[in-house]
Amino acid sequence: MLTVRRWVPILSLSVAILALVVIGAWALYETTLLTALPCGVDEPSAVKHFEDTHPGDLRWKIGVPALFALSFLGGHLLGYVRESRDGPFLDQPRGRPAFWLQLLLPLFLTLVAGLIFYEAWALADPARWPITFYIRCAASVAPGQTLGAACVVCALFGHWFWPPLGRTS
């Protein structure tokens, strides 16, 4: 039966997935249409921040981190909804996690380490753009979409890595 405790997580995850799909597809589509460097050709214009596009506007400086924090908190609170219901799958005894999970976590951490390694490598090699520049460029060209994707990621992190106290087996 589709109770509130069940449809809230389904709806939340569906919205997050839809947002990621739409933003990812949009980014790919817009990238194929590029005929010039979207952030200018010099380094300072390529590393602009949100607030640089709105100088003196404190809403960006305060609103953006507040939005990320709220997304993170929202993801955490969603965990309470998901863990509050009863179900046969919650009664599984503690034990070793599934093999695919044991594989997924190291893969995820390896990917993160790889991205950070590339970042360091690109900073040392002037011919390359570090990932930071791409994200800041995206934030400058399309602040709404970039902000949306970052909020979804923050919410997912808050949901997955900040568990409700004493709820999860």
Binding site: L13, L34, Y134, L156
Partner: protein
Amino acid sequence: MRGVCSVRALVLASPRADIIVDVRPALAVAAVVVVLVFLVVAVADLVLEVRQQRTLGQYLRSWANAYPLFAAFLVTLLGALVGHFFWH
């Protein structure tokens, strides 16, 4: 050294049209990598939720409960990265 002579800027400032060809795939890869990783995990979580099986979120939250310092480190890393990207 960047403030003295930005070689990266010189490369990007080149009027050669093929510079765009160099940057465009990287932009696409950056967008796909960042979005796809979270997309795959979220879809897996949703599928398990709909099938009423033990969800990926539950596995991850169990892991975070078992290893709170690792989880805190990951979250701190995310916060540092987000702050680095969007805030100064």
